[in-house]
């Protein structure tokens, strides 16, 4: 037992190094005082970060991405909440099939989503703009939001709502005092993860954006210019840190859901 435990621990450590090693290069080379991404390192510099301050196209792209990420994560969270509430509270005709259908974008190759959506937009003669990306991202994020919200609603035992009504509260009060606080960790998790996914998503944005690039589309364009590499690394470092903060927050709220889940599981066993 002891022996195999060590073997597995070695496995997971190697795995984590493999998983994280590329990401470590981002900060290393974004502070490196050289135009070439190569060893040996030549010296410490923050010049690549400063360069980012004067990139107007970057700032526009950032603004576009923020708009898209905020809008699509809110939309997806609304949809996910509706699906989760429907499937956790009611048993209805076509429930399984329709919920599964809503989850399909989870495994569909993104290129196919992108091509499909673009085909329809072209057929309809619609102009591509930020809103078309918002729609595409909402479609992509809704499955994630749905899964998170289903988990959040699962711990909302129906008896809690009934108890609140029984103790004299109105339906509105019950929503405000019981339902909302109970599922709010889920709502926040869903918003955070939706935001992160949208902010990082490239292909759908690549297909559906018009003349206004998103952040990943901007970064993609930078890849062609070797001279832009170090500042792209600097941008990557910032994105990495933002993602880390958001994901850590997400993790914090996800654990809140689990705490409630654990509690309601105890309820179920009785």
């Amino acid at each position: 037992m002891k022996q195999s435990s060590k073997y597995f621990k070695a496995c997971i450590v190697i795995f984590l190094i493999f998983l994280y090693a590329p990401a470590f290069l981002l900060p290393i080379f974004s502070f490196n005082d050289s135009k070439v991404i190569a060893f040996p390192l030549s010296g410490f510099s923050t010049v690549w970060f400063q360069e980012l301050l004067y990139e107007d196209t970057l700032h526009d792209a950032l603004r576009n991405s923020l708009f898209i990420a905020v809008s699509s994560s809110i939309l997806a969270t609304v949809f996910g909440t509706l699906v989760a509430r429907a499937s956790s509270r009611y048993q209805f005709f076509g429930q399984r099939a329709s919920v599964t259908f809503i989850l399909v974008p989870l495994i569909l190759p993104e290129i196919i989503l992108g091509v499909c959506l673009l085909t329809v937009l072209i057929q309809l003669g619609l102009n591509l703009n930020l809103w078309t990306v918002v729609l595409g991202h909402t479609l992509l994020i809704t499955p994630f939001s749905t899964l998170i919200m289903v988990s959040a609603f699962n711990n909302l035992d129906i008896s809690l709502e009934e108890a609140s009504l029984d103790l004299g509260m109105s339906a509105v009060q019950t929503f405000r005092l019981i339902i909302l606080p109970m599922v709010s960790p889920g709502l926040i998790s869903s918003l955070l993860i939706g935001f992160v996914i949208s902010l990082d998503e490239f292909i759908i944005a690549f297909f559906l954006t018009g003349v206004e690039p998103t952040l990943p589309v901007y970064i993609w364009a930078q890849f062609r210019f070797p001279a832009k590499l170090p500042s792209t690394m600097a941008l990557g470092t910032i994105l990495l840190i933002v993602s880390l903060i958001l994901v850590s927050l997400f993790e914090y709220f996800r654990r809140r859901i689990e705490l409630y889940n654990h509690y309601s599981m105890e309820l179920d066993q009785k």
């Binding site: 035992d157 008896s159 029984d166 004299g168 109970m182 309601s264 179920d268």
Partner: protein
């Protein structure tokens, strides 16, 4: 049915011809019950008999398709749960996990516009009532089963409901705690004087705690009576076999007299029953029941041996205060159970021995078979 139904003086809850159907299955079928102000009333029955549905009808969570619900002589059919003078202790207690103990207990007083200090005082008093002193700031996710149940009780009692509804409140607790809580609940009911309506599938629980018990099967109430009457004078065969254990004998009615009925059974011979303890649609076939402890084993030299019946012991077991004997009749597959708590004086036959036993006619109940 005369189930104590119909509006009567002193009733706090009147259920009149209630019917509730789920997916074409009648969960509650034309039930009428009157619950008296201040009593401890239990709805007892096997799972799926409709007892919880009936409780939820009183609470207002289920709206019956037919019949009327009266609480305190007011028709409340269309009154939602939050406007009824009833409160409920849920089977899983439904303690709000995002609120602490005091917030849970004070939850229902949010709308009362009570001064904050006064509210705190009320919460403390109620926690004291259920034996949870000093639990105010505990997280509700860190409570034991028994503590959760007390919080649920406090949360409902603080609103001083006219009727407290309890849905299998003790089923989640282990045996020792359950027995303790049975006692405490009874004491609590006496001290607060509120009408308690308890739903349970546990006959001991219903019999020990209640003033009156309603026994339900398949959406019907078979009998509403005191625990003693439920046990000694069951109205239907279902009630008789659900409560305690009972020996049944098929018998053929031979003579009807003014006060009694004489029936014949292969093993017991001629049986005389009191007319008032025979129930059901009159017919010729009868199922005669008698509790194991109502049979009396006697020795051969007993002066009553003349009217005794004999059988052979094929199994015996010792249960502490009582002894159980399973007897088999000669030339018959029929088996009966006899129990005795008179360990000193009663005969103590061995397996394989022939024994004699007698019974009193007032301990027999009879049910006409369809």
């Amino acid at each position: 049915m005369t189930n104590g139904g119909g509006i009567q003086e002193g009733n706090i809850v009147d259920l009149i011809s209630i019917q509730k159907t789920f997916d074409r299955i009648k969960a509650v079928n034309d039930v009428s019950i009157g619950i008296k102000e201040g009593e401890f009333f239990s709805l007892l029955g096997p799972s799926g008999c409709g007892k919880t549905t009936l409780l939820r009808v009183i609470a207002g969570f289920e709206v019956p398709e037919m019949g009327d619900v009266l609480i305190n002589d007011k028709l409340v059919n269309s009154v939602p749960p939050n406007k009824r003078p009833t409160n409920m202790v849920f089977q899983n207690y439904a303690i709000f996990p995002h609120l602490n103990v005091a917030e849970n207990v004070g939850y229902g007083l949010r709308n009362s516009k009570l001064d904050k200090n006064l509210l705190q005082k009320r919460v403390r008093e109620t926690l004291n009532l259920v034996g949870l002193d000093g639990f105010d700031n505990r997280s509700s996710t860190a409570l034991s089963g028994g503590q959760r149940q007390r919080v649920a009780l406090a949360r409902a009692l603080i609103l001083e409901p006219r009727v407290l509804l309890l849905d299998e409140p003790l089923s989640a607790l282990d045996k020792n705690l359950r027995e303790q809580m049975q006692f405490e609940l009874r004491q609590l009911q006496k001290s607060v004087g509120i009408t308690f309506v308890l739903v349970t599938h546990d006959q001991t629980e219903a019999l020990t705690m209640s003033d009156r018990v309603g026994v339900m099967f398949d959406g019907n109430v078979d009998q509403v009576a005191t625990p003693e009457d439920i046990y000694n004078k069951p109205r239907t065969k279902r009630v008789a076999s659900f409560i305690g254990s009972m020996n049944f004998f098929d018998a053929e009615v031979s003579v009807r007299q003014d006060n009694s009925i004489i029936a014949l059974n292969n093993n017991l011979g001629k049986i005389r029953l009191k007319k008032e303890s025979v129930f059901g649609m009159e017919g010729s076939k009868l199922s005669v029941g008698i509790r194991p402890e109502k049979f009396k084993l006697i020795s051969n030299d007993n002066k009553e041996a003349g009217r005794a019946v004999s059988a052979i012991v094929y199994e015996k077991s010792f249960l502490g205060q009582t002894k159980l004997f399973n007897l088999r009749f000669k030339d018959s597959e029929n088996v009966i159970t006899v129990s005795t708590s008179d360990l000193k004086n009663a005969p103590n036959p061995h397996i394989g021995d022939a024994v004699k036993f007698i019974w009193d006619e007032e301990d027999l109940v009879g049910f006409y078979e369809e």
